[in-house]
């Protein structure tokens, strides 16, 4: 049960059992907090209440009061007398009030659900075996739980359009649609892009776009997630994999500093889809379409898979030793990445300190923000680089200072973790001029110039943490294995570090966290395993004077963040 401390709670009674909830709690949520599911289709916790599916009908009663005196009525036992409403009421449209009673398992309620299920199914194609929603279809699930089990319908079904392309990513089958209006409400209320609507009326009502318009906003695939049935499907995912074969790994979207919580669905080492994971403090239940397609990065051919020295294959240990040797000798500069995990940034910072505390930069990435779930800062973990101490300023998109220092011969060695120097503004000539240790999962121009090449892992193959724009520490796990023979980035970082200072850090994430919590004040007492599912806010006090570029987004307001930091 999610309760803020100090909030006044009231008692409501669900099937005669008392539940304490904040006043006004939606009764579907109240029941859920008590472990009781009230079946529903149209209700969605993040959208306005429509009340149209009628699946959540319950019996509703309130303690009676004497009309004349206003005194509570009592039964023989001296308990409040409950005045039951004559007909059932929708739980989704009912807000908890003191003493409220609902019945969710009575015969009346069972009959209601049975009736609604039958109505929803009479004009439904009933072709689950060829429907891509099978396995995560509420119609299917509730039919099993509350349905009649056989059909009494012998009339002709209403015919509606099949396979309508609503937009570049979303396909609609109107015969499967139960007209719950979740998708319409999502577009209108969350994205404010009014493209979907119902046309015609009665049983002929049909979901559609205005002819010539498309559902093409960057959040269109959320309609697929919230469609309780198989009406809306993702063109990227449909018919590629049965959902019951997918294993789902919690991850964090790297699209921007918002840090959208995700689930990565994979089977046998291959990713099939990314869906949002609910986090009421970050992304609610939503994510962008563009973020969902980031897994395709893995399918690109430019993957670096070989440890190398001077272009010749070597083993991880050899690469680490060579890298350490180079760093020890040179005038060393460091280029870290806002896409690396906090653990990687921390280890890179320790390496930097171990070999002379040379200058370090991060490559800045910015883009237009959408005030929803894509922020202006396109690095998912800029805050991590600050917290780890790798940088103490905000990054620029181009490494101008580094470029000047190369030209001035102030730097002759560059350790690059996960970035491409050419992309970040250096020239081929400058790359020729210096010795490069490169780690990354991309085989790019920097890799081509590297003395030591170290293959890295993508976020989908790795585990670790990012710190988002709110200074919320969020962890992600590996959904799929990396290429054969490629070790996690931290394993190489630890090897290099041990070469340099001989401390003998073990390449386990727990050990790294031990170090971090010792060395970083805002991470004190924390462990990797101890990071809660919804992330953990850490102190941003030390950085409140930095001019972060993010504007408002769904759950972030820069001014509030500043105020919270005591700024």
């Amino acid at each position: 049960m999610s309760q803020k401390t100090g909030e006044k709670l009231i008692s409501v009674f669900i099937d005669d059992e008392e539940v304490r909830v904040p006043p006004g709690t939606n009764m579907i949520e109240a029941a859920a907090s008590f472990g009781k599911e009230i079946p529903h289709y149209c209700y969605h916790p993040k959208l306005t209440v429509a009340g149209n599916c009628r699946m959540c009908l319950v019996e509703l009663g309130m303690p009676g009061r004497d009309r004349a005196t206003g005194e509570p009525l009592l039964d023989e036992g001296g308990n409040p007398k409950i005045m039951w409403m004559p007909g059932p009421a929708i739980a989704c449209g009912t807000n908890a009030a003191p003493g409220m009673h609902i019945k969710t398992e009575s015969d009346v309620v069972k009959k209601c659900r049975n009736g609604v299920m039958e109505f929803l199914l009479i004009n439904h194609p009933l072709d689950c075996p060829i429907c891509d929603q099978a396995g995560e279809c509420h119609l299917q699930e509730y039919a099993t739980d509350y349905g009649r089990g056989y059909s009494r319908f012998i009339e002709e079904k209403v015919v509606k359009p099949k396979r309508t392309r609503l937009g570049p990513r979303v396909m609609l089958d109107d015969e499967r649609c139960i007209l719950c209006s979740r998708c319409i409400r999502f577009c209108n209320e969350i994205v404010e892009d009014e493209v979907l609507g119902f046309i015609d009326r009665g049983s002929h009502s049909t979901l559609t776009c205005f002819p010539g318009r498309q559902l093409e906003n960057n959040y269109s695939l959320n309609t697929v997630d919230i469609c309780p049935v198989g009406a809306l499907t993702s063109m990227d995912f449909r018919f590629k994999m049965r959902v019951w074969f997918l294993s789902e790994t919690p991850s964090i979207c790297t699209e921007s500093s918002v840090g959208v919580n995700t689930l990565v669905g994979s089977r046998e080492g291959k990713i099939y889809r990314i869906t949002p994971r609910r986090n009421d403090e970050v992304n609610d239940t939503w994510m962008s379409d563009s973020g969902r397609l980031l897994y395709r990065e893995l399918e690109k051919a430019d993957r670096l898979t070989q440890y190398s020295i001077d272009g010749k294959a070597t083993l991880p240990d050899g690469a680490a030793k060579e890298a350490a040797d180079i760093m020890r000798k040179g005038k060393c500069a460091f280029v870290g990445s806002g896409r690396s995990s906090l653990e990687e940034q921390f280890l890179l910072q320790k390496i930097r300190r171990a070999c002379g505390n040379g200058p370090a930069w991060l490559v800045g990435r910015t883009g237009a923000e959408d005030e929803l779930l894509i922020s202006a800062d396109r690095n998912p973990n800029l805050r991590g680089a600050l917290v780890s101490g790798l940088i103490d300023r905000l990054p620029q998109a181009r490494l101008t200072e580094l470029s000047e220092q190369i030209d001035a011969d102030a730097v002759d060695t560059i350790v690059v973790w996960g970035e491409d120097l050419l992309e970040a503004g250096l020239t081929e000539e400058q790359l020729e001029k210096v010795t490069i240790v490169y780690c990354g999962y991309r085989d790019n121009a920097t890799a081509a110039h590297a003395k030591v090449g170290i293959p890295g892992l993508s976020v989908f193959e790795n585990r670790g943490c990012f710190i988002n724009q709110q200074f919320r520490l969020q962890s992600f796990l590996a959904a799929v294995p990396g290429p054969e023979g490629v070790l996690p980035d931290v394993a190489l970082l630890v090897r290099i570090l041990n070469e340099l200072d001989g401390e003998g850090v073990r390449p386990r994430i727990e050990s790294i966290w031990q170090l971090m919590s010792d060395e970083i004040e805002s991470l004190k007492w924390m462990t990797f395993a101890g990071i809660p599912e919804g992330g953990q806010l850490i102190s941003c006090e030390a950085f409140k004077d930095l001019p972060f570029i993010e504007g408002k987004s769904l759950h972030y307001d820069p001014e509030e963040a500043l105020a919270a930091a005591g700024g």
């Binding site: 009014e194 493209v195 609507g197 046309i199 015609d200 205005f210 002819p211 318009r213």
Partner: protein, 168 residues
């Protein structure tokens, strides 16, 4: 979309009457259908723009209300009430006879566009059924023997007026 100047005037006069612009969508649909004879896709977009709505908001209404048409109606719109009170006193037979007399099946528009003959749901004149609404004129207590007369009136209207009569 080219609207008659009096339609445009009426529209511009009408919108500010409403506390909220969107409320003018039904009146605008009436005016545009009156002007054009139907509501085209272009008409929907025009109204949407006029009222700062998304076209889907207008499209949802055009398809909900049976009075609004996305295809041109016949020059004369004939509606025979088929609901219980009229049916009890012979509306179906009247409808059949009218279809015969006009040589036009029910719920269709005559191929030459002369008229549209349809069933209508309750026209709220149950005490004088069967009733037939010819454009704006209500014919009451129409017996089978009256049908030919009504049909003649309809045909005369077709010949007498060039455009569809919707002047509300």
């Amino acid at each position: 979309m080219k609207l008659k100047s009096e339609t445009c005037e009426a529209i511009d006069k009408l919108i500010p009457q409403y506390p909220v612009k969107r409320s003018a969508v039904l009146p605008l649909l009436h005016l545009v259908q009156g002007d054009q004879g139907y509501i085209s896709s272009e008409g929907i977009e025009w109204i949407a723009e006029k009222l700062e709505l998304a076209p889907i908001n207008v499209y949802e209404l055009v398809t909900f209300y049976p009075y609004f048409r996305q295809e041109k109606l016949g020059k004369v719109h004939v509606r025979v009430c088929r609901t219980l009170s009229c049916a009890l006193v012979g509306a179906y037979d009247v409808a059949d006879r009218l279809a015969e007399a006009l040589d036009c099946p029910l719920n269709t528009t005559k191929a030459n566009g002369d008229f549209t003959l349809e069933y209508a749901e309750c026209l709220a004149s149950c005490g004088s059924g069967p009733v037939v609404l010819v454009d704006e004129d209500l014919y009451e207590k129409v017996c089978e023997k009256d049908v030919d007369g009504v049909a003649d009136t309809i045909l005369a209207k077709v010949n007498g007026s060039v455009e569809n009569k919707e002047t509300a």
